[in-house]
Symmetry: C2
Subunit: 349 residues, 2 copies
Amino acid sequence: MLDDRKVKVLHAIINSYILKAEPVGSRTISKQYDLGVSSATIRNEMSDLEELGYLNKPHTSAGRIPSDKAYRLYVDQLLKAEKLKMDMKKKNEIKKALVEESQEIDQLIQNSAKIISAITSYTSLAISPQLKESRLKHIQLIPIDEAEILVVLVNESGIVKNTIFRVEQNIPEDQLLTISNFLNHKLKGFTMDEINQAMDEGIFREIHDLKKILDKIIPIINKSLEDIDNVDVYADGVTKIFNFPEYRDLNKAKSFISFIEDKELLIDLLLNDTLEGDIEITIGDENIYDPIKDCSLITTTYRLGDMTIGKIGVIGPTRMEYFKVINALRLFSVNMTEILDMLLGNPRV
Amino acid sequence: MLDDRKVKVLHAIINSYILKAEPVGSRTISKQYDLGVSSATIRNEMSDLEELGYLNKPHTSAGRIPSDKAYRLYVDQLLKAEKLKMDMKKKNEIKKALVEESQEIDQLIQNSAKIISAITSYTSLAISPQLKESRLKHIQLIPIDEAEILVVLVNESGIVKNTIFRVEQNIPEDQLLTISNFLNHKLKGFTMDEINQAMDEGIFREIHDLKKILDKIIPIINKSLEDIDNVDVYADGVTKIFNFPEYRDLNKAKSFISFIEDKELLIDLLLNDTLEGDIEITIGDENIYDPIKDCSLITTTYRLGDMTIGKIGVIGPTRMEYFKVINALRLFSVNMTEILDMLLGNPRV
DNA sequence: GATTAGCACTCGATGATAAAGAGTGCTAAC
DNA sequence: GTTAGCACTCTTTATCATCGAGTGCTAATC
């Protein structure tokens, strides 16, 4: 069905269209890509490719445009054929830049998005670590002054969360310590769900004298653990979309940018996919959301330990420089995993 | 120079232009605004107003467009004349929505930006609290496990910051407590600058046995206090700009959105102004930055105690619904100040 | 002296028409 | 199977006439 020459023609068309963003004619291919056949032959092949669904015609007298199906074929072959020859020098440069700028995890993610957008020239997306079901590692109550107590929570991954709350009457420091110890003893290693369940079962029944303060603290613990699990998304280089002729149309640009502006949708977009695999590519109509049905989304994951905890990627017109983007993202996947390990991972000494 | 009727004509033109975004002709004014004079008279007045710099002509046979100078006059009179009749019902509605959604300060600011953009239909901007020179209120070291210590800092305003760091060898809990107490004793109430200075003066000389751990902690304290002072900006409703006909031009839209995307510039924009005053308005060419020289920026401040600590505002075409925006922002200024007081302020019981 | 009706004039916007150009698809020859 | 050649299609671009909103001036009017 798809003989060797057809594939070559198709690739030539795709390459040309990625480069120029203009419908590709038979003459262009026969002249600029060395296939050794005349434009008439190319015309015949193109006609076949169109029939097979790999090419579209904007109108009779225009050239051809690759379909989503064509990109899919192209990308699959790209991913299969391509050896992962990572440019270690570049990788380490990026790593250095990332580490220097990012002491906090959120900063790391944000900076990654920024750098990716800069080096690929596409809009980048990134989602903060997913630490679903995080387990409590440490809890401590600290008196700030007579009327304020600070609750500090640390989860397994080393993410910390604090809340200050007010109390009517002064609670002696040693009593707070007792409470801290007690809570640590009872709740350490549990997820929020488990803590809730334990409470329903009345693990605190034994101590009546602390009840009043515990009643105040438990909701805080809950909220904080919830907060830790909360995700954030970042986008960078949104206006890069204006550089692509397909977004000369104001309405298209608007709908794209509106989509990117909607954090809820972005989170959904990045999480709905699996968190598996190395590089994931969604092309055009394969996307669920209407506003990006003529975009391609390329994402990669980053890990903490052996858990995949987040995603970072690039979005742009289906006519995307897949090769370049895939390579850039691979660099980041490795780098971020390494950096996260350094920032959050358990010390392995 | 500017007699009463000229002002009336000018206001009519401004109102019409704000509404329609189209050059205003003399006939429109004489028909739709009840000034009791013919279009010819209006024409004469318009000619005078143009000479005085209040009106511009796109070309000979178009109507007139208000100049920045005209908006400035209009706005100044608006601010002077307008009584602050705050819609208390609406104010409290908004307050309720804000309080429910925002437990964290940053969330409060973000939500405010979102709501403001929604009710005004313009792009909103907000900057996180400026707690310049924040003073240390409390510091505590908490052992997480054998190799990790959590440093918790609380500043005067009740903002908390944590960092986990690793130690080679286990430090006994009581020793950490001693260190905490010592640091609290020495550093409480000081700003970062003062802490640095104190260290240069060698306040820690007396205790040699703690030197090793202190050397590790001091940079963390510094970084954390710096971090607390760090500002963040938020923008919401960026794509609203597409709704305005003056941004039908792709390049204009791009340059506007690029500007808004650049956090550095936004911070500068919001901080370069004074932090004084109720409502501040910068019109068109009064703006320093080129990309927004045909925008107006309206901001208001919010306070903590008697210190102005942040700004929130709206940006849009100079043809802006000043009245509506000013009223909306006033509501927010009061609400946010009240909410911040509740979240962070000292308990006054 | 201010106001107004009247009218010539300006200039962008709109739409129709023509010409140019890129590309296809078919046919017939190689 | 490949290719040259050519009629045909459809968009793009340029040109030109027309339309209409609006001005600015003049002369008449209040």
